[in-house]
Symmetry: C2
Subunit: 288 residues, 2 copies
């Protein structure tokens, strides 16, 4: 199964045997006070800076989220998408819980990249979300992230998360969205709060890959929430989740790209270590 | 399957659902010029220092290898084992390719710890090695590392490595060594030289764990040989190999313990993150 995303620049292909695709997570005001304040004033300079910095650090796709208290997403999300698309050519992942803001942002995307395929982040297995988001994904020819949670919340077993993933795919197909345009997120929760959180997630990832064959994303840094030395946890979790089937994680590229390149190398997806060594040299050069 | 090792101090248990056991690799002259020079002069001060430092860094077992050009292992290996056992109480992994030196070191170990169980590193599936090493392991009630290689060299497929592991276990049982005292090493080779090296090893680890249920060690740092930023590769490989079934890797504890603790935490082997947080606090304290 191959998912192809495209903005104004080159298309990015996501598939199990290709190198891991990095979705940059930093255009998101949650936990970033300076960005939140700028966005609240309608100032998109930091969005531009973060877009450039993340692509330079190796992000292949950029998540764009402007949701925070005091922000009118309906107006700001399309502007932020436009700013990103004006700044860099990589595909965009439109991240919002607001269907009207999503529609407006998808329209902006379609204007700037009529042949493009953005990624919509996200739909869940909840009925109202399925019915609000999937028609927009279908109308604009987008791809969509499906979170494995439904009206009952986040299932505590891997099998139940697989069942939610199955239902999202079925419902997407019912709206005319082919399954290769659905990317599943098995939901990384804080392992400090629940010691089974990561292992259930990894098991769900393996099940979705084996049973559905779909591409998988994950917000891997959530696992380390509340713990000291979060990077050690994030890097170990990324390596294990990529081994289990995650192939387009949402990450801070500057922090975790070496680990992801090392993981791809170890899984045999980087013949002669070409990508690994090239990225190492570029990091060395940029430090000089 | 549980393997219990013991020297003069507390026993160390190795089993699939217990926290990962770290075998400290640093008492080994290969690639360590200063240690090699000291050993060639019969000076064991550095062996003592390395023993203390590795235990302080979280090593649970210490590998002892004094093999290098110009060193009489027959005389020095028992001395080094004695030095380690006089310095720290953790179990010892006696690492030599010389059966006579192995016998002498096992005798020293038995004198100092009559109730002890050392680990012998290693036997292979090669007939002469099996016949030279296994009788000593049986005589001294030791445990043994079995490398998945035989007279034909290192097999290129995971299935063939499993077959070698099976044969080592059978031969060990033939000598009266119970299978729980055999630990398998699926052989990490340099991924820079062969892009399938790590994935074949990880697959072999999964097969040995699933088919034989045995405990598994691995010299994980070999995978990154010849590459820049080796620690990124080692850490990713350790996380993946522990997820696959390795539970007593041979490592530089000071470098990789945070990754191993994070991996155990993520795999649900560290309720309430107690070990992870305690180790973090100890590292912070030792830096002050």
């Amino acid at each position: 199964v191959e998912t192809t995303l495209r903005s104004t620049g080159e298309a990015v292909a996501i598939a199990p045997d290709l190198p891991t695709v990095l979705i940059g997570e930093r255009i998101n005001p949650t936990g970033r006070r300076r960005l939140a304040a700028a966005l609240a004033e309608g100032n998109l300079d930091l969005v531009r800076t973060e877009a450039e910095a993340q692509v330079a650090a190796g992000a292949d796709v950029l998540d764009v989220n402007v949701g925070a208290a005091g922000i009118d997403e309906m107006s700001l999300l399309p502007q932020a998408v436009r700013t990103v698309m004006d700044t860099v050519g990589v595909p965009v992942c439109i991240d919002t819980a607001n269907p009207q803001a999503l529609r407006a942002a998808l329209r902006t995307h379609a204007e700037l990249a009529p042949e493009g395929t953005p990624l919509v982040n996200s739909v869940t297995g909840e009925e109202p979300r399925l019915n609000a988001v999937l028609p927009l994904v279908a109308e604009f020819g987008a791809a969509v992230v499906g979170l494995t949670m439904d009206d009952g919340g986040i299932p505590s077993t891997a099998e139940e998360r697989l069942a939610v993933a199955c239902r999202i795919v079925e419902r997407a197909e019912g709206f005319g969205i082919p399954r290769h345009r659905v990317i599943i997120d098995c939901l990384a929760l804080a392992v400090g709060a629940d010691s089974a959180a990561a292992s259930v997630c990894l098991q769900a990832v393996r099940l979705v890959r084996e049973e559905l064959g779909l591409n998988l994303t994950l917000g891997a840094s959530n696992a380390s929430f509340g713990l000291p030395d979060r990077d050690a946890v994030s890097c170990a979790f990324l390596a294990m989740s990529i081994q289990s089937g995650v192939n387009c994680p949402i990450v801070d590229a500057a922090k975790v790209r070496p680990t992801i390149l090392a993981t791809d190398l170890l899984l045999g997806r980087d013949p002669f270590a070409r990508r690994y060594i090239r990225a190492y040299r570029e990091r060395q050069k940029s430090r000089q």
